[in-house]
Amino acid sequence: DSEEESMSEGEMERLKEEVEEKKKVIAIMRNKPWRMKRRLVHLKECQEFVDKFEGALGKGKGRKFYAYKVMMTKKWIKFQRDFENFKTTCIPWERKIKEVESHFGSSVASYFIFLRWMYGMNMVLFGLTFGLVVIPEVLMGLPYGSIPRKTVPRAEQPTAQDYSVLMDFNGYCKYSVLFYGYYNNQRTIGLLKFRLPLSYLMVGVGTFGYSLMVVIRTMAKNADVGGGDGDDGEFTFAWKMFTSWDYLIGNAETADNKYASITTSFKESIVDEQENQKDENIHLRRFLRVLANFMIICCLGGSGYLIFFVVKRSQEFANRDDLSWYEKNELELIMSLLGLVCPPLFETIAELEEYHPRIALKWQLGRIFALFLGNLYTFLFALFDEVNNKKEYYANFTLYNNDTDTTPPPMDPSDVIRGPCWETAVGIEFVKLTVSDIQVTYLTILIGDFARAVIVRFLNYCWCWDLEATYPSYGEFDISGNVLGLVFNQGMIWMGAFYAPGLVGINVLRLLSSMYYQCWAVMATNVPHERVFKASKSNNFYMGLLLLILFLSLLPVVYTIMTLPPSFDCGPFSGKAKMFDVIMETIDLDLPAFLGTLMGYAANPGLIIPAVLLMVLAIYYLNSVSEAYQHANAELKKKMQMARDEEKNRRNNTESTDQVMKDLEDLLPNRSLLPPAPPPETGAGEHHTFTSNVNEPLAPIVQCR
């Protein structure tokens, strides 16, 4: 030990350097074109050296610990690398998406990547909901038929198993774990004393919290990628032409894919170029754009009014009993039809505007967003309107009935009179809407794409004009419609998951089948767009929409939890004045007393307002810091560009771009301030040497001060 301690600082440094060098050699060993035996010998030598002396770098007594720490670090790095590899192989559908990408371009593929991401998020939500709410109730709660809220009422029992009733989510469906009304309001259930109502509320809130976190994290990650575009714009076409083939491809199908992707990449570049070079007739274009926007606002207004009208009508229908199938489902049908008809209408009107396809896509998305938003909120308002109306009426009803509960005779649960359950009703509405949305989407693909492709292909043999080249030909994949469909579907799931825990499960199934179905449909029935454009590098536009929808679907649920009183006879919060009373109850009964007083203080407005102010200040500060960084980035980029231009010009022997240099050259024309030109090469074109630029010596200008 003493001899190691007596090593001087300088020796330590030298040793450290040598160890570092050996490590570097180990790292690049693979790239060297050596014989295997030689490599192995070298590797062993280096590794022995490193092992022997790395431990010596720790000082004295800590040496063993240092060696141990180094070994653990190595093992940890290896584990991390293996885990990364494992994670990459676990990514599902990568090959499918690559195939779609090489045939249809990056923008179509970005939809499928988005779909896959949504699937991942929904799986997590599904896990949360099922694991913490549904499974405990099923395993530890009371079984079906034991209490009134879990039993089909006597009156409905004969029809409870009918297919039409089940399709409407009544009958046995209504009184199952799928909906809010099934859950019991016992404070703790089972041996583990699982607090179900608390868990239900927490999962409901946690769903939003998790989704928010995931969306914002993805947005932040995408924002990083979008920044560094660099200077690849210098030789785009030349590079594509000379370096795009991958000579390691040996498989015929892969080669086909590669052809397709090279073609697509050329087309994308062409479109980008064209857009940069269009000339403008500004006034006409502005007028057309204003006109288009005006027409679209009229459409939006019309659709909003239509929905309002239909909802009012459905309220009238609710009072009658003899309804045809159309009248029962009128609301869902109209909403789906609007969602089907308006987007193509918007697209036709948008042709007046003549934007770059990427920008036109964004406008289209924005407009469809406004459409769906209007529809959804009108629907919601109408729904809550009904709920409010009903509640007043039924509040009296249940109050009256409770008087007779003092000595309840033992009755069969299905005979007990129970009050209405508005949460389950709302849940049923959401589930019906989701299911009809799924059906309409799948049917549209089947008819609009598949049947059309089949007809065009086979009828073409005996038709007067060429069906494939002109109308109707094969369909193109509708990116904006599909993305928005996905985003709004997710919004509905977020809204409805609180009232119908089974909805998340339905959504997971839907996304899974959608992935396979749409991949197949795209490859089999669609043709690539005529104008293929690159998706913008940051996918933040989709994420931004998703974030907005998340907030908008958060509002109704939070309003419900905070303001509306829960139904008396069903659900985990029955009997309480407000839903969040569960939290109060838990704090009072389960947590130690001082926490209760602490939370009481924390809820004081005197504390909350300064906290909010602090957060606002923090946001402002971070915003200014980020702006400063962006500014510095732009400056650095400009400097790099100038340095590059300087070098380019120096090599080409043309005039300098730097103004100072130019002035100096003008003052001293005979003497070149730039380095001499390289000797002319054989077989090359003519080079202008620097001296030939200067024809006449100008009189030297005397410097005056």
Partner: protein, 195 residues
């Protein structure tokens, strides 16, 4: 496999090839066995059909031109020396080679020779310039009929515009070097001959 190959290749030949191309002894032996396995006619030379049996070359859009690069002017057979001479272009560049004496001629696998090899693939008429027509031919091979002729013409024009510096509407070898300056040619045009 091994014994037949080494009996037909003499030591002096191996030494000469080593000096000319820079491959090591075992690499040359290994490549010789590959040469003989491609040589179905067993006459010590390769023909164009022999090369076309390699799937990666058959699929490559410029495969025919690459195969052509193996054969000297006007001939239809290439012997082992010629084979090695062409393959030498794809030898990876080693660090210690940069220290060799500057008076010796440039090795076949230098960056500039690699680029010259690629340049000759495009410049069919050997006039040291890639003209617009030659670019069009290459584009048609790479992209087929999926893009209209008009657009192909624009792409060719644009490529020349990006690369051309002396205004002669074609790409000379120096301009070609300039275009691919930032591309890692040493890595892309090297095949690591494994032992």
């Amino acid at each position: 496999m091994g014994s037949r190959a080494s009996t037909l290749l003499r030591e002096e030949e191996i030494e000469e090839i080593k000096k000319e191309t820079g491959f090591s002894h075992s690499q040359i032996t290994r490549l010789y066995s590959r040469f003989t396995s491609l040589d179905k006619g067993e006459n010590g030379t390769l023909s164009r059909e022999d090369f076309q049996r390699i799937p990666e070359l058959a699929i490559n859009p410029l495969g025919d031109r690459i195969i052509n690069a193996f054969f000297p002017e006007g001939e239809d057979q290439v012997n082992f020396r010629g084979f090695m001479r062409t393959l030498a272009h794809f030898r990876p560049i080693e660090d210690n080679e940069k220290n060799k004496d500057p008076t010796a001629s440039e090795p076949l696998n230098s960056r500039s020779n690699k680029l010259l090899f690629a340049f000759r693939l495009y410049d069919l008429d050997r006039d040291d310039k890639i003209s617009r027509d030659e670019l069009l031919q290459v584009l048609r091979m790479m992209v087929g009929v999926n893009i209209s002729d008009e657009q192909l013409g624009s792409i060719a024009d644009r490529t020349i515009q990006e690369a051309d510096q002396n205004g002669d509407n074609s790409i000379s070898f120096n301009e070609f070097i300039k275009v691919l300056e930032k591309v890692d040619v040493e890595q892309k045009m090297s095949i690591r001959f494994l032992h």
